[in-house]
Amino acid sequence: MSISVPTKIIRPKKTLSFDDLRELWEYRELLYFFSWRDIKVRYKQTIVGVAWAVFQPLIVMVVFSIFFGKLAGIPSDNIPYPIFVYSGLIFWQLFSSALSETSNTLVSNSSIITKVYFPRILLPIADTVTKFIDFCFASLILVGLMFFYGYTPSLSIIFVLPILVILTFIVAIGAGLILSSINVKYRDVRYVLPFFIQLLLFVTPVIYPLSIAGKYAWVLALNPMTGIIENARAIMLGTGMVNYHSLALSFGIGMLLLLVGIITFKKIERYFADIV
């Protein structure tokens, strides 16, 4: 038992302060428990849970390969279409599932929020952890595909892949925080979001290569997921050359989203328990 008595001071909330970071550290165990809860619930029926994480991208890959790869003949930078689309899909799914989960997190956890205090931002962070585990399972298929088609990733994968995953989180959490703040006030975000995510898929080079866009490629590059997916393909399937320009751009836009996300979230957090 600790001897020092913790002193807490409650004041009207500021939007941003360094105390938040300290507080986040204090509550790290709760973050662990929230993630643990989500993982437990997700994989409760173990076989179905894991299978779902693998099957979903797999089936989508097969369907896309048939329709877009074979029938529509969409180019894929000389990479076999199945592995091309799958490598994009797993990142896309990491992003889209994290985004839709985080946007709903405040509303779905409202029964806890109105009764106990903890830094609310833990909830969206915990949500993304489960999505990461799904991502890991889905990656196994990618490894299999790479063996099958005889691809060896370049060595830079060790450094770049974690960066890409973290970047995906930053983008998803940033956008998710903005959306979840809006969702608290306007509940129809829930209905608009799936549609919005569907549209986003088409402005992200998942089913087609960035090169297809020609001189308008810069428009697509504004979408932070573009840089992430293009670089993921480069290191896993392509030349191994990291495109630092697009990576930096993704990082910049991702950080901007995160900053705006945190500010809107903190603003709404203040009166959150009162309106949920």
Partner: protein, 426 residues
């Protein structure tokens, strides 16, 4: 001595919008803007220039309090007096609008037992999850795990998902987690109002125990004056967001009871929740609405409500409370009719006759309860209650007792039989 909780000039402002729904849908706003653009932009402009006509409501206004180590303080007051808001600010759930609070020590609250329970997880898993949410560390939970399980009395089902628990088991597990928190400062809000009488008694027992353990500071919010007077030496009376009186519990309760008898509650019906609408609630005697109840005749409590969705483990009925806030009786439609537990959608009119010569004379409150056992209480933010005054039956001989010193809870409606033996010389 330095206070462990020092509250300085705490105020909390809420905005009341006169809308029926709690949250807006973007589509409503868009339709509104398109249908009547002029009004819409006028309102937007007003908002921009700060001439908003929204009503402001101060749930708390300039509250100053010092609470010292080891004190057990009762916080009482009418509904809407600001008691719960004060606790919510103390726990940090909602920040104050102005002011500052300095708290020394670990705070835990029993705002609601079972917070964060997940139906898919087992009892064991939920103990960990719930414990963490309530502020225990992993190590601490592991140490207390056996104690918690033992106290709950559900060892056999500890690895069963809680969705398979009966509501009683659920509440027991939830409470035993909460009961094993060891904070320096404990905030308790109306926990005792949930659950059945037996469970309430168990909670009170635990509260007694907690109170006696060394140096724990407790803030206790309740409508149950018996419990407050039993547990707390000092009490605070709140009214309309202000501290009206601080002092010895007996005196404060006296003030509160006085306030209750002179105030009046107003209730506008119908009120609607997502799943339930209460259309009418009345107390009648001889077919007429009544506040004053003649003891020699029966009277009826009538509810008229609609259920919009099929509900499970549903209960509809009321608590009957005396002037001290003690629940004298609770009664639900489902007590005698289990078929109504899984209630279908539709409109229901329920009536209950309370027999003549049952209650002793005095003030009572009838508080309507509509809830699903262990999961949801409806219309919780409204205080749906009616105050009645019961008078002694006409033939009751009361000449020797004054109105104020009545003892007991109910009348025995039977007459004594008396046999007089006249002494005769044998």
């Amino acid at each position: 001595m330095e206070p462990v909780i020092s509250i300085k000039n705490i105020s909390k402002k809420y905005r009341i919008t006169h809308k029926k729904v709690r949250y807006a849908a973007l589509r409503d706003i868009i339709t509104y803007a398109l249908m009547s653009p002029f009004t819409y932009f006028k309102n937007r402009a007003k908002k921009l220039f700060g001439r908003d006509t929204k009503e402001e409501f101060w749930a708390l206004k300039d509250v100053n309090l010092d609470i010292y180590k080891g004190e057990v303080v009762g916080i009482i007051g009418k509904n809407g007096a600001g008691k719960s808001t004060l606790l919510k600010i103390l726990t940090g759930i909602t920040p104050p609008t102005t002011g500052e609070i300095v708290i020394k020590g670990k705070v835990a609250s029993l705002l609601e037992v079972g917070t964060g329970f997940h139906p898919e997880l087992t009892g064991r898993e939920n103990i960990f999850l719930n414990g963490a949410i309530l502020g225990m560390g992993r190590k601490e939970i592991r140490e207390k795990f056996d104690q918690i399980v033992e106290f709950s009395g559900i060892e056999r089902f500890i690895d069963t998902p809680v969705k398979r628990y009966s509501s009683g088991m659920y509440v027991r597990l939830a409470f035993s987690v909460a009961a094993h928190l060891e904070p320096d400062i404990l905030l308790v809000d109306e926990v005792l109002a949930v659950g059945d009488m037996e469970f309430q008694k168990k909670c009170l027992g635990k509260m007694d125990e907690v109170t006696r353990t060394r140096g724990r500071t407790i803030l206790f919010v309740s409508h149950n004056m018996d419990a407050v007077s039993r547990l707390c030496k000092t009490s605070i009376l709140l009214d309309q967001g202000k501290v009206v009186a601080i002092g010895k519990t007996d005196e404060i309760i006296g003030k509160y009871v006085h306030q209750m008898q002179h105030g009046d509650t107003s209730l506008t019906l119908p009120i609607t929740d997502e799943e339930i609408t209460l259309h009418d609630f009345s107390v009648t005697q001889n077919g007429k609405n009544a506040h004053d109840i003649a003891g020699e005749n029966s009277f009826a409590v009538n509810l008229d409500f609609s259920v919009h969705k099929k509900l499970r483990s549903f209960r509809s009925g009321f608590f009957l409370k005396n002037a001290m806030g003690t629940v004298v009786s609770r009664t639900f439609t489902q007590d005698w009719d289990p078929t109504l537990e899984d209630i279908e959608t539709g409109r229901y009119k329920t009536h209950l006759t309370i027999p003549a010569r049952l209650l002793i004379a005095g003030q009572y409150e009838i508080e309507v309860k509509l809830f699903c056992l262990g999961t949801r209480e409806y219309l919780k933010n409204h205080l749906i209650e009616k105050r009645i005054t019961v008078f002694s039956p006409k033939d009751y001989n009361e000449s020797r007792s004054k109105n104020t010193d009545r003892v007991g809870y109910f009348l025995i409606p039977e007459k004594w039989t008396v046999e007089r033996e006249i002494k005769t010389n044998v």
